[in-house]
């Protein structure tokens, strides 16, 4: 049995789902941020796999992945900075307690 596109895609989907699950259930903002990174990385797997199997000659998927990694890094940085700021003002990063604004 050789590894096919489907396997990569299943892996990617699974990772994406795990990330999504984490992002929606974990209370800590940092963990949520990590989960989001997981989702982005899951997508990267799919991108590279697609690129490899569908357009093997071109590197479209890989290029896309590189951009996405950069973006993810920037996002993580900003995210962490914001989490820091919020910790300073509230001394918690439990997202369920951050609901000053609602309704």
């Amino acid at each position: 049995m050789s590894l096919g596109l489907e396997h990569y895609l299943v892996l990617s989907a699974a990772l994406f789902s795990i990330g999504l699950y984490g992002a929606l259930t974990k209370r800590s903002a940092v963990v949520i941020l990590m989960s989001i990174e997981l989702m982005l990385n899951a997508t990267n797997i799919a991108l590279v796999a697609f690129s490899r199997y569908i357009v093997p000659v071109l590197l479209t998927g890989q290029v896309f992945t590189i951009f996405s990694i950069v973006v993810a890094a920037a996002e993580a940085t900003v995210g962490l900075a914001i989490i820091m700021a919020i910790y300073r003002s509230r001394e918690t990063i439990d997202t369920t307690k951050i609901d000053l604004m609602k309704w």
Partner: protein
């Protein structure tokens, strides 16, 4: 007056009083408020002018070959070919007679009013209304188009509203005025519907054209009957016929000369005139004619019964008017224009006289309640004499005016509607009884009023400005009937036969009709005499006790004095309970709670929905994320489900 009256002057007949109205209300009242008598003079001069012109018009019509004058007309409402309403005049014998009645009676009443209304703070207003009232009535009888006639018809109603409610600060007056207007408007509803029907079926509202269409048979069948009945409904309202009679007794709340005018020459006469004016339509519909006769006959006796028991002198007279109007309708229904109008003509004079007499009496005693009167014969001889003449006239005593026209009605009805004839005969008896009940209670016996009161320590005769018109009217109440002794009046109005003067004078007493044991005139005269006798027996000689009779016929007395509970039925049950508290209140509730409630309900629901939905926005960011995912799932599901 050899020449024919010029067209412009014909217009002036009703324009003069109208002008007087305008002058009084626009000039005198604002700028000469301290000179009230001026308006009286202007109004009287105007109506006098109209009277003179009316006589001229009458002579012109008499000498015209077909008893008609042609007057050119104006466009009032013309919309291409779709509708054409002209403002024109119809100058025929009927108009001429009515003009004389209206101007003459109005003239007398307005002269009388100078005394009666002296010192009233609203003297200007009074004469303004009187002028307008007369003008409207004159317009009504002169115009040649049914719609324009309706205009004046309504104006007459409006003026009677204004005059009945003249003393508007008295709630009873304001109520009576409103009642008069609304009740007559129920009749007008029929009139207007008939106008609409006629226009839609014939395309014209010109009276002469409608006549010829009816005569030619183009206008026939159900349409004709419906139209005639609709018109008659208008007449029922205006002429206070059963079942729309309820407004007239209450209309007493106006100044007495107004009542005189309403009862004699204007308002109520308008209904009878309308039927006469549209008579060719009735003539060609048996149903309509029969309806007129039956309603007239029924009203005559029905109103008379109530007249028997009233204690207010004006109310007795009011029911007598209703009753007499019933006679006129009966006359129209069984006999034709000439007979009905002849009675209207005679009635106008003696009924005006009766009211002026009643006014004179109340002027002296300060009341209309006959229980507070008595013995006025001595202090008010002129009033007594004229009132007596009028009473004899209305009772139908030969050879006074009332006799002639009443006899003709009876004569016609026995030929056509025997049942109505018997009702009318009973009415003759009742009429004589209640009129002389009034005479004896008011003028006979001793004065029962409050002598110590401040108003007038002793009753006194009225000033000559009031007596003079009464005398004139008394002469007419005696003599107006003689116009038709030879049948000339009927001839002029297009019916009846001519006889010699002396033959005519005793005609009724010499000719026995089939089915009757003795000549008709004897019967009616005997019945009237019995009525007078009974009144004398009870109220003057006191052979019979009024109280005992009342007790004997308690239920009937109750029925009559409560006016058959018509007021209660109309005002209380129908107007107040069924309509105002029932239907209208229900609709209002539906409007505010149902429709508006629904509107507000929708608004509230929208707002409440917002209040619920916003709760989804919990502030929990993960829930927000959840919604993103749910949104994706929902879209995919929706796409999957819709294929």
């Amino acid at each position: 007056m050899e020449t024919v009256i010029p067209n412009e002057l014909v217009w002036l007949i009703f324009l003069l009083p109208l002008l007087s109205f305008a002058v009084i209300s626009l000039i005198l009242r604002p700028f000469f408020s301290n000179k009230p008598r001026l308006s009286g003079y202007i109004s009287i001069s105007a109506i006098f002018g109209s009277f003179i012109l009316s006589i001229w018009a009458l002579t012109s019509i008499l000498s015209a070959p077909s008893h008609e004058l042609a007057i050119p007309d104006f466009n009032w409402l013309v919309i291409d070919s779709a509708i054409t309403i002209h403002l024109g005049l119809i100058m025929d014998s009927l108009t001429a007679v009515m003009l004389i009645v209206v101007t003459l009676v109005s003239l007398m009443i307005q002269m009388y009013s100078q005394g009666y209304m002296q010192g009233d703070p609203s003297y200007h207003r009074y004469y303004a209304y009187m002028s307008l009232f007369t003008a409207s009535m004159l317009g009504l009888v002169m115009v040649d188009n049914l719609l324009i006639m309706f205009v004046f018809w309504e104006l007459v109603g409006l003026c009677s509203y204004l005059l009945i409610g003249f003393w508007f600060h008295r709630p009873a007056a304001a109520n009576a005025a409103k009642k008069a207007f609304i009740v007559t408007r129920i009749g007008d509803f029929g009139f207007l519907a008939a106008i609409l029907l006629l226009l839609s079926k014939t395309g014209t509202l010109d009276i002469a054209q409608l006549h010829s269409l009816a005569i030619a048979g183009t206008l026939a069948g159900t349409v004709l009957t419906l139209a005639a009945i609709g018109i008659f409904l208008g007449a029922v309202g205006k002429s206070a016929q059963f079942p729309l009679h309820v407004w007239l007794p209450d209309a007493m709340e106006g100044p007495t000369p107004v009542s005189a005018l309403i009862h004699a020459a204007t308002m109520v006469a308008a209904g009878v005139f309308l039927v006469a004016r549209m008579f060719p339509l009735f003539e060609h519909s048996e149903v309509a004619l029969l309806t007129v006769a039956i309603i007239g006959g029924l009203t005559a006796i029905f109103a008379a019964t109530m007249g028997l028991v009233m204690t207010d002198i004006k109310r007795v007279l009011a029911y007598s008017t209703i009753s007499q109007l019933g006679y006129m309708m009966l006359g129209l229904g069984v006999g034709g224009i000439a007979i009905g109008i002849f009675h209207l003509f005679n009635h106008a004079f003696f009924k005006a006289l009766l009211f002026l007499g009643a006014g004179s009496v109340s002027h002296a005693t300060g009341t209309f309640d006959m229980r507070q009167m008595g013995g006025l014969r001595k202090v008010m001889p002129w009033t007594y004499a004229t009132f007596l003449i009028a009473s004899l006239s209305i009772a139908g005593i030969w050879p006074l005016a009332g006799f002639w026209s009443k006899d003709e009605i009876l004569l016609s009805s026995i030929n056509n509607q025997p049942i109505l004839f018997y009702l009318a005969m009973v009415t003759v008896f009742m009429t004589a009884f209640y009129m002389f009940r009034v005479v004896f209670l008011t003028f006979g016996g001793q004065y029962r009023g409050d002598n110590s009161g401040s108003h007038s320590a002793r009753p006194h005769e009225s000033p000559s400005v009031m007596i003079m018109p009464m005398v004139v009217l008394a002469v007419l109440a005696v003599g107006s009937g003689w116009l038709n002794v030879t049948g000339g009046f009927s001839q002029f109005l297009g019916g009846g036969e001519t006889r010699g003067f002396f033959e005519g004078l005793f005609h009724g007493f010499t000719h026995t009709l089939p089915g009757l044991p003795i000549p008709l005139a004897w019967i009616s005269l005997i019945l009237a005499g019995l009525g007078i006798l009974l009144a004398y027996a009870i109220y003057s000689a006191r052979w019979l006790s009024a109280e005992r009779i009342t007790r004997l016929f308690a239920p009937l007395h109750m029925l009559f004095s409560r006016k058959y509970w018509f007021d209660e039925l109309y005002e209380h049950i129908i107007a107040r309970i069924v309509l105002l508290k029932g239907l209208f209140a229900g609709l209002k509730f539906f409007d505010s709670r149902g429709i508006d409630g629904a509107v507000n309900g929708i608004a509230r629901t929208t707002v409440a929905t917002g209040r619920v939905i916003r709760k989804a926005q919990t502030g929990q960011l993960q829930l927000y994320g959840m919604f993103i995912i749910l949104g994706v799932v929902a879209i995919i599901l929706a796409m999957y489900l819709s294929g």
